[in-house]
Amino acid sequence: MIKVEKMKILSQKEIAEYIYELELQGPLVDEISMPGQFVHIKVKKANDPLLRRPISISSYDKNKQTMTLIYRATGAGTIELAQQTGDLNVMGPLGSGFPVEDVKGETAVLIGGGIGVPPLYECSKQLKARGKKVIHILGFESAEAVFYEDKFKALGPVYITTADGSYGTKGFVTDAAAQFNIKADIFYACGPVPMLNAVEKLFDKIPGYISMEQRMGCGIGACLACVCAVNGPELYKKVCTDGPVFPKGELVYG
């Protein structure tokens, strides 16, 4: 069930340049059903900024009723979010996530770009818990923007790329995947659309899931703001309810 609740802010800290890690607590966590779902946040009561902000759930702990979000604070709403203390108005969990049950094969590769990295963390943890081998290819703008390298390393190999070459391999995640000749039985990807498109092409032989972004209004399927073009008779699906995670091959890249 989708809840709208005041969640308690347990902690909030900057973990990389402009990147914040926010830990929240509340019964909403009980409702999370899979990694890759997101929440829709009303940063504060006033009318500016007006709309909620969609942020992926990066990890969660059902026992403690806690979840962690990681976000980049560079726009009006997220900059305000970084200053909040006390309570936070959160709606969620929303959307479908990354399927981690009944995965065939041994090895999963998780590919994230920038603020697409966060939801892969819980995904990786759950795959690992189910006995899979997990490989991570994470792309960032520059050395200052890198986060969670150690956390991912604790689960499996990590390849970092940076656009400016200031850390790890210079270039894009797909460059690294090709360069290090990564082999896997399934992929999970989240990041900018051109990256998703490139990932689908590179891993065209194995099944996979990708998580999409789109500007949202309601976050629950009512306003038709967040559609994306899909192959198949429907032509359009909604990122907020049909996604944000879609199986490989479903999205039409414009």
Partner: protein, 312 residues
């Protein structure tokens, strides 16, 4: 709840609160949050003759205290609305106001004729003012003669009362109101969105794929309020008001300006419970103001010498 019960052409409502068209789909999504039978009515998403895919994305952008949208009337088309959406809604004790749109007069007439015969549709809302449809939607909303004729044609085929939704993108909204009144409208709904735009700072290009979009939310409330104030003084038609409503006090403002009922659009996205909460709070406010019925406040902004009772 007697203080909130109201009676409008075709509509006997438990209360004067309803979601605005396009901001609540056909109710399914919000039915996860509360029992839709609590609502006074529901203005469902615009229905066109054929299915529409709408505009490319991005379709929305945020602005200061507002948002722009250019959904482009995406909807499953008349047949699916008649066979699936309206029957689904009939499980609720909820009179439906069907929002009717089209590109040509014939489309409007065809949709109106059919949808007005659906059992739970108690009124039509003629969307002559959608700013996001290219083939001429906007002309209906800004030309009084065209609006009048369209109203008359739809009125001629409709089984239920017809409310016309006015566009704020005009120099004189009173003129438009009087024109559709002359065309036989049973009521008015106002306002639709103001045409606006947001650019990406860095590229300088429009954020919304459609380039311009419709501005809604608290930013437009002062304009909507002024228009209801003006129109309610020159027509006898009941007005269902909308434009930036997000609280019970906003509703009181619009009733004071001369509206008979109020619709909530954008605020549903911010708080999915908003309509339910407004209904609850209205009751308390009327008690506080010592008002017998919400319509005792109707038009008090411009009625002379009628404020004394309500002064806090």
């Amino acid at each position: 709840m007697d203080k909130l019960r109201i009676s409008l052409p075709g509509l006997e409502l438990k209360n004067p609160i309803m979601p605005a068209s396009g901001c609540f789909g056909f109710g399914r999504e919000y039915s996860q949050f509360y029992d839709l039978s609590l609502l006074g009515s529901i203005m469902v998403k615009a229905t066109t003759l054929e299915q529409r895919l709408g505009n490319p994305v991005p379709r929305v952008a945020e602005t200061s205290s507002g948002m722009l949208n250019a959904i482009g009337l995406q909807n499953p088309g008349l047949e699916k609305v008649m066979n699936t959406e309206l029957p689904w809604l009939s499980q609720y004790d909820l009179p439906v106001i069907a929002n009717v749109a089209g590109s040509m007069v014939e489309d409007y007439v065809e949709v109106a004729k059919n949808i007005s015969r659906a059992e739970n549709v108690h009124a039509l809302e003629l969307n002559i003012s959608c700013p996001n449809v290219k083939e001429g939607g906007i002309a209906f909303g800004t030309d009084p003669e065209v609006a009048k004729e369209l109203t008359a044609k739809v009125k001629a085929v409709s089984d239920v009362p017809v409310y016309v939704k006015l566009s704020p993108n005009v120099a004189d909204i009173k003129e438009m109101a009087l024109a559709v009144e002359a065309g036989g409208a049973d009521g008015l709904t106002m306002i639709n969105t103001l045409v606006g735009m947001r650019l990406d700072h860095r590229t300088g290009k429009p954020v919304i794929a459609n380039k311009t979009g419709g501005l809604s939310g608290p930013a437009i409330k002062p304009v909507a309020l002024r228009m209801v104030y003006e129109v309610s003084q020159v027509t006898n038609l009941p007005i269902i008001a909308m434009g930036g409503i997000s609280s019970a006090w906003d509703v009181i403002d619009f009733i004071s300006a001369g509206a008979s009922a109020a619709a909530v659009g954008t605020a549903n996205f911010v708080n999915p419970f908003v309509c339910k909460e407004i209904i609850e709070e209205l009751q308390a406010i009327l008690d506080e103001l010592e008002v017998e019925h919400i319509h005792d406040l109707k038009g008090r902004s411009w009625k002379v010498g009628e404020t004394a009772n309500y002064r806090a």
